[in-house]
Structure formats: C-alpha cells, structure tokens
C-alpha cells in the first residue's frame, strides 16, 4: 500500500518509500486537493504526529518539539525569516505542489541546523501534464483564493509558473473588539521554474519564488482599564532564487551544483491614536552554494558526498543598529553511505560537520537500518544527533522594553560589552552569577531514537507502530543576569536545561473496497524538562491544595512541557469513484494541554490551567468533469468548536466553494 512512491528527503537521493529506513509521511497532490488545503498550515494540521501552534504565526510542532526545531524546505532549499523561532507556514501557498515529505527524527546529518526534530520538504511539480489550470475559491470571512498554473514541456525544456492571490477579511471571535484574531490579509505569490537539458546528461534549472503579504493589524490594548486603539500595518516579503547545474557522468556517478539566495523582509508599523508609533523591522538574507555528488560504487553500496558554504545576515530594529547587518558564515561537509548487504537489510550511516563563525561547531552523526522480517513485515531503527544553531536574536538582540518596566534583553555576543558600559555609567544595580557564566553559545543538541514496525498484510492494508524518544541538551534559555539601579531586569541567553519527548505513533490505512478507504492515526506523547523533574524529585517544587495551602508537588502531578497533547488521534474516510467524484470526512482529536502556570510554581502540573481537549470535523466533496471543469465545496469545523483564548487560529465553522478549469495535455 506504501507502493512505489519515491522519497527524496530522507536520503537526499530518490529512493522508493519501501526502502526508506527512517519514519516518513508523504502527502501527495491529490490529498492536498481533496482536503481543499490552500496553505501549508491547512494540510500539516491533519498529519499524524504534527501539531500547529499559534503565536508569531502558525508554526509546526513535530513529535512534541517546538517549531524552531523543524527545518522547512522547498525543493530542498530552506526558508528563512522566523519570528521568535517560528516560521509562519501560512506564507506558503500550495499551488503547483507535487507532494510534501515529512521526515521525523533528527536529520542534521544531511540538513544541518534546525533539522533537529525533523524535516518538511515541499516538492513542486516536475511534469507538465496540465498546461493550464485556473481556480477560484470563495469562503467564509470573505476569503478569496485565485490561482493560475501554467506548464510547458518539450524535448529539452520544462517550464512552469504559478500565480496566486489570497485575501481574507479575517475574523474576530470576541465580540465588541477591534482586534481580529486572524487579521485581514492580502497576499500575492508567484513562482517560476525553468529547466533546460543540455544534452542527455546535463541540465540546468532556475527557480524563483516571491511572496508579499500586507496585513492590517488594528489592535485594542486594554491596560489597567484604559483602552488604546492602534492602527497596525505589516508588510512581509519573501523572495528566493536558485540555480542548479546537474550532470550525470555515468549511470553510477552524478553531481549537482546548487546556489540559492533568499531574503525575508518583515516590517511592522503600529500607530496609536495618541500618535506614539511602534516600528519593527527584520531583514534576513541567506545565501548558499553547495555541491552534492552521488556515486553507486557497487549495486550494494551507494555513497553521497557533499559540501557547501552559507553566508547569512540579519538586520533588525531590535539590534543595536538596524543599519548594520549582523552576519555569520557556515562551512559544512557531509557524507552518507548506504549499504544493502542483502535483499532483507539496508544500513545507512551519515555524518555532517558544520563549522560556524559566530558560535561553536557541530558534528551530526546518524545511523539507520531497515530489516525485512518477511514479505509483509519490516523493522526500522534510526539513531541520530540533531542540532539547532543559536539564532541571530540570541546573539545580537539589544532590546529594551520601555513600555513594560524598562527591562532589557541582550544577545550573548553583546551582553557583556553592553552591560559593562552601562556599569561604567552607573546604571547597573547588581549582577547575578549568571552574568559571569555568559559565554559563546553552543548549539542545542538532540539525540533521537526511532524504532518502528510496519506491517502490510495485503495490498489493501498498512499498519505501523513507531516508538520515539528525543533528548535535548544545551537548551538556550533566557535568564536574568542582573538588574538596573531602577530595579528593571536585565536578561541574556545561556545554554542551560535539558528536556525530552517520547511517545508512540500508530498509523493504519485500509482500503475498504474500490471506492472507500480509511486512514487512522494516534499519537501518545510524554514530555518533560529534566531540570524541573530533578527539582521535583529533590522536593523543591511546591503546589497548592484545595484550601490554597502549599504542599510538595509529586512527580505524578507533573505534566511536562506546555502546549503538548498527551493524546492525538485522527480518522479520515475517503470516497473516490471513476466518474471523478470524491468525498471525505475527517475527524481530528487533541486531548487537553497546559496553557498557563496558575498555581504559583514554575512548572506545569495538574493544578494549572489547561485548554480543553476537542474534536474537530471537516468535510469536502467535489467532482471533476470531462470538460476540464471541476467543482468542490467543503466545510471545516462542522461542529463550530471554538476556544478564542487558547485557539485563536481556529475560526468557527467555515465554508468554501472552488471552481477550477484545467486543460489536460493531449
């Protein structure tokens, strides 16, 4: 049932899904279309083991690890422009997408920093079966999505283009509030790709992608009973361009040179009625050149060698000067050996070294294996180390919040210099021990172990059980390092703390008959902060009983990291017939999760405030006609579940209708 699908992300080379040694989920174009997904967020929220977060845009949590630990790639090239570690996945329109590959577990041995929890790689279409396609969708909250795809191919040329316009009026769940939880947005994107074959063995490919969004973000802040209305404008631009030259020396030997440029520019203006402007700028540029060479030494042995260099720079109004770009360079090399000693066994070992200019280097090994017990069953194991480099804000932030008591946060690259200057000016009240512990930040490291069993009793059934455990150390956390004479706090970043996530994932796919199929998934997740657990064990953490009196917290009360669901489940029923008609109903469940610490200790426990668990139901039906037209209607969140406080990104019940026209290749 897993069939002959091809995966490129797991091995950095095209391999059949059946031979992949690490946990992978593939979402294909048909699934994306039948769900009616427009943005990357829409489709990822329905995938097993993933969870969408809100705050600083919609990020993705993978097996309990925060959005900063998953790298997002488009055709293998990374997206940049994260706010507080979160890359807003609403930015990515799902136009000419062929499939999305989700690799779980540390993958830094191939992808470097950020691939600590896993990799999400969006792969665009590679064939020109549909020369022209136009679609228009209208939905609740005046949401409009209009898209055009065009593609052209002849012997030596492949071209495709994608143009998209999206706009929504946003919505406000809370009555009588100017603030909208989803803000009015106008977003344009386009995407152009051209591939030219120079002879039989060489090709050159160009790609550009552009997205601009304008967001109206009027807010009302009620502070101490006073309401201040502000007019907010946000303007975000994401550009990227790539060129690659690929050459095949022989069937066993090929190489590819890739160069990539991307820039993310985010600008926010906020003007209050009293005129006090708030202004924020972030500009992130990332350039990379890379070579990868693939060599099939024998039928049993495939080798990959790669090396590259990255230049990265960020300008921000939250650094000491927004005119001076902070830069970093990275040089890296990686290798992977794939050995198939027998039909039953595949062994893969990989290694990558990243040398950084501004922070300590990282070494990322990985080992994985697949063993076929018989025709129907296989076992996979993977053990890898992942890392996440300190980001620019952790190095260069120079931010004083005048509005909230005048506290300051300094990145580690400046903290000691700035604070000692302030000291000479007599502005520092006292310094904590943590100030003297400030030093060059090390990357955060994780070790991940994944063990899975897959069973395919027939062509119609698939079952997998996966156990996973991730241990993270050197967590970079904000710490108070001292205070001003005025009492206002001074913060910086330190490598402290360690955490873990572990759990079980089950997946079931069953074809019921020619028309119906059902898929189901379940995830059980446990998380914890190891330092907090040690404090609890040492009887140093307290909570309150029903009378409000303090008592010791026991390990049984501890619930781990916030914003994590112990149980997640989903069931999807799909219908397809050969007249082009399809229908589906999808049910998603999340159990309760801790949202805020309300009982007077620093850990999350059973006495804290939780968001309630919930079920959401979604459906969509559609039909494609011989003429090339297709129609689709859908309803998301049928039961109209909402929780404005904890799920600002979940609107109530929404409807949509899409009309699409396609010209098929004759």
């Amino acid at each position: 049932m897993q069939g002959d699908s091809v995966v490129v992300t797991a091995n950095r080379a095209e391999r059949k899904l059946g031979n992949i040694t690490v946990p992978v989920n593939i979402v294909n174009a048909k699934q994306i279309q039948q769900v009616g997904a427009l943005r990357l967020t829409d489709i990822l929220k329905e995938q097993p083991g993933l969870n969408m977060t809100s705050g600083f845009g919609a990020g993705v949590q993978l097996q309990g690890l925060n959005p900063d630990y998953t790298i997002i790639l488009i055709n293998g090239e990374p997206l940049v422009g994260r706010t507080a570690g979160v890359l807003d996945l609403n930015r990515i329109a799902l136009g000419n997408i062929k499939k999305i590959e989700i690799v779980k577990g540390p993958s830094s041995s191939l992808y470097g920093s950020e691939a600590m929890a896993g990799v999400i790689n969006i792969i665009t279409e590679t064939v020109a079966n549909i020369p022209l396609q136009a679609s228009l969708r209208y939905g609740t909250y005046e949401t409009i999505d209009a898209g055009v795809n065009n593609a052209y191919a002849e012997k030596s040329i492949f071209y495709q283009g994608f143009y998209n316009y999206f706009s929504t009026n946003g919505y406000s769940i809370r009555p009588n509030s100017n603030s909208r939880v989803t803000t009015p947005i106008d977003r344009y994107s386009f995407n152009q790709q051209l591939k030219y074959n120079i002879g039989n063995n060489t090709n050159i490919a160009f790609g550009i992608r552009f997205t601009n969004e304008k967001i109206t973000n009027d807010i009302s802040v009620t502070n101490g009973g006073t309401t201040i209305n502000s007019i907010g404008k946000e303007n975000n631009t994401d550009k990227n361009a790539s060129v690659s030259v690929n050459h095949r020396f022989s069937n066993n030997f090929k190489t590819s040179f890739r160069s990539y440029f991307t820039e993310y520019n985010a600008k926010q203006d906020l003007v209050t009625v009293t005129g006090a402007p708030y202004y924020d700028l972030l500009n992130h540029v990332f350039k990379r050149v890379e070579n990868q060479t693939d060599w099939s030494a024998t039928k049993q042995l495939n080798l990959i060698f790669g090396a590259g260099a990255v230049w990265e720079g960020v300008k921000s109004s939250r650094y000491d000067s927004e005119k001076i770009r902070k830069t970093n360079t990275i040089q890296y090399g990686f290798t992977q050996m794939e050995w198939t000693p027998s039909e039953k066994l595949i062994l893969i070992g990989g290694l990558r070294f990243d040398k950084n200019e501004t922070f300590a280097s990282a070494f990322s090994p990985k080992f994985s294996a697949l063993y076929r017990l018989n025709q129907k069953q296989k076992i996979k194991i993977s053990i890898g180390q992942g890392f996440k480099a300190p980001d620019f804000r952790q190095l260069y932030l120079d931010f004083t919040n005048a509005a909230a008591g005048g506290y300051s946060v300094f990145g580690t690259a400046q903290a000691q210099k700035v604070i000692s200057q302030l000291m000479r000016l007599g502005q520092i009240g006292n310094l904590y021990d943590s100030y003297y512990q400030l030093k060059t930040l090390k990357p955060e490291f994780s070790t991940g172990v994944h063990l899975s069993w897959e069973y395919e009793p027939s062509l119609n059934s698939y079952l997998s059980v996966q156990l996973f455990r991730n241990d993270i150390r050197n967590l970079i956390q904000v710490q108070q390092v001292g205070s001003y004479v005025t009492g206002a706090q001074l913060f910086s970043y330190l490598n402290i703390g360690s955490a873990f996530t572990q759990g079980v994932e089950l997946e079931l796919k069953q074809k019921l008959n020619t028309n119906f199929n059902i898929t189901a998934a379940y995830q059980y997740l446990e998380t914890g902060d190891k330092d907090q657990i040690n404090l609890i064990k040492a009887n140093k953490v307290y909570t309150r009983d029903a009378n409000g009196y303090s008592r010791l917290l026991s390990l049984n009360d501890y619930v781990g990291l916030p914003n994590n669901n112990t149980h997640k489940a989903q069931i999807k029923l799909n219908y397809n017939n050969h007249n082009g008609f399809f229908a589906n109903i999808r049910m998603l469940y999340r159990s309760k999760w801790a949202v805020s610490n309300t009982n007077g200790n620093e850990v999350f426990d059973k006495g804290d405030e939780f968001a309630s668990g919930y079920i959401s139901l979604h459906t969509s039906i559609g039909k494609t006609y011989q003429s090339g037209f297709s129609l689709q209607i859908g309803c998301d969140n049928i039961t109209n579940y909402n929780d404005p406080l904890n799920l600002p990104n979940l609107p109530g019940r929404t409807f949509f209708a899409t009309i699409k026209y396609q010209i098929f290749k004759k």
Partner: protein, 214 residues
C-alpha cells in the same frame, strides 16, 4: 515494704509532676494554632476614570498579627500594627516603614514544616524605596505576575517569617490576592480582574511568648 513502695511511687510521681511543671513553665509547649484571614483589602480599586483607568487611593491597610485585627490608618505611626499591605507590596513595622522592631524574610518551604525559625536566619528591614524586607517584584518575594493573563499568583511553598512590632515572631502564608480567596481563572473578564484584585487572604501563626518556635 508496701509502705516503702507507696512512698517511692509517690516520690516518683511528685518528681515527674514537678519536673513537668518546671518544663512547661520555661518553654510552653502549647501548640500555636494557625488563623485564617480572608479578603483584607490592599488599596483596592475604588472606581474607574472616564477612560476606564483604575482609581486607587494609594493607602496601606495595617494589620496586627498579635491581635488578629485591622489597625486604623491613624495608628500607622504607632507600634500597634505588624504588617501592612498596598497592592503587591507588604511592609513590616520597622526600618523606614515604622517605629517598631519589625522585620521579615521569605522562607522557602511548607508552613507546617517551619516549626522553629532557623538560628542562622537573617531578618531584613524595610529600606524604602530601594528595598523591602519582603522583596517586591514578580518571582522574587511572595508572588508571580502572569503578564499574558494579567494575574497575580502567590508562589507556592513560601512562608513570610515576620518579626512583629514588639519583636515577637509570626509566620504567614499568603493564599490569594483576589476577593473571595481564590485566584481568578485566566478567562475572567478584565473588569473582574481589576476590581477583585488587591484582596489578601492568608493564614498565620503568632508566637506570643517571644520564642522562635511555633
């Protein structure tokens, strides 16, 4: 023989009686029972301005732990009060705050487990406005402030060890900062959070004999 035994028994009983009497005379093993106090206002919001801003009077509520009663503000310059509350600030009757011998420190642990004030404890006194015996600020003294939900929560496992105006000792555990004795849920309305805040509920034990044992 019988007589001698009777005498011996009598002697032992008397000795025990005398010894126990003399013992109770010097250290008083009478248990100190904890007292619960509810909803002591601490400069509460008295109204809202036209713009909706809270209006407060900027006043302390003075409290006598010895007498378990609120002391009128008119007596603020006397030694009749032991602690006083204004918003999240708690002062003691000593240092820059009063004429008494007051002082305090924050003990980390459980109220019931604090049976004797450790001999190496250092009582601090108020030195307004730079420092207070009971440290002010979120996470430093007796509370944390959740800026997202705008709520003040007393830290669990904190006991305010108080030296009273007359130099005796008491221990205090703050249980709530909101009217009604329980911290409001995060979902409470802004108006409710505004008007129900600044009410202290606490339990305390006061040792009248001047010893450091509760």
């Amino acid at each position: 023989m019988k007589n001698q035994v009777q005498k011996l028994v009598l002697f032992i009983s008397l000795t025990v009686a005398i010894l126990s009497c003399s013992k109770s005379d010097t250290t008083q093993v009478l248990p100190i029972s904890a007292v619960s106090v509810k909803d002591i206002p601490a400069d509460t919001v008295v109204g809202l301005s036209a713009q909706g801003a809270p209006i407060t009077n900027g006043v302390y509520t003075y409290y006598s732990l010895e007498k378990n009663t609120v002391v009128p503000a008119a007596d603020s310059a006397t030694t009749k009060w032991d602690i006083a509350f204004m918003a999240t600030r708690i002062i003691t009757n000593g240092g820059t705050s009063g004429k008494g011998q007051g002082g305090a420190f924050v003990f980390t642990g459980l109220f019931d487990n604090l049976k004797t004030i450790p001999t190496d404890s250092v009582f601090k006194t108020d030195n307004a406005p730079t420092s207070y015996a009971i440290t002010t600020g979120s996470g430093k003294g007796w509370y944390t402030y959740d800026g997202l939900n705008n709520l003040i929560t007393p830290l669990a496992g904190r006991v305010l060890v108080i030296r009273t105006a007359s130099g005796k000792y008491a221990k205090v555990e703050i249980t709530s900062y909101y009217k009604g004795g329980t911290t409001l849920p995060a979902t409470a309305s802004d108006l409710e959070k505004l008007t129900k805040q600044r009410y202290y509920s606490f339990r305390y034990a006061f040792q009248p004999n001047g010893s450091k044992t509760f």
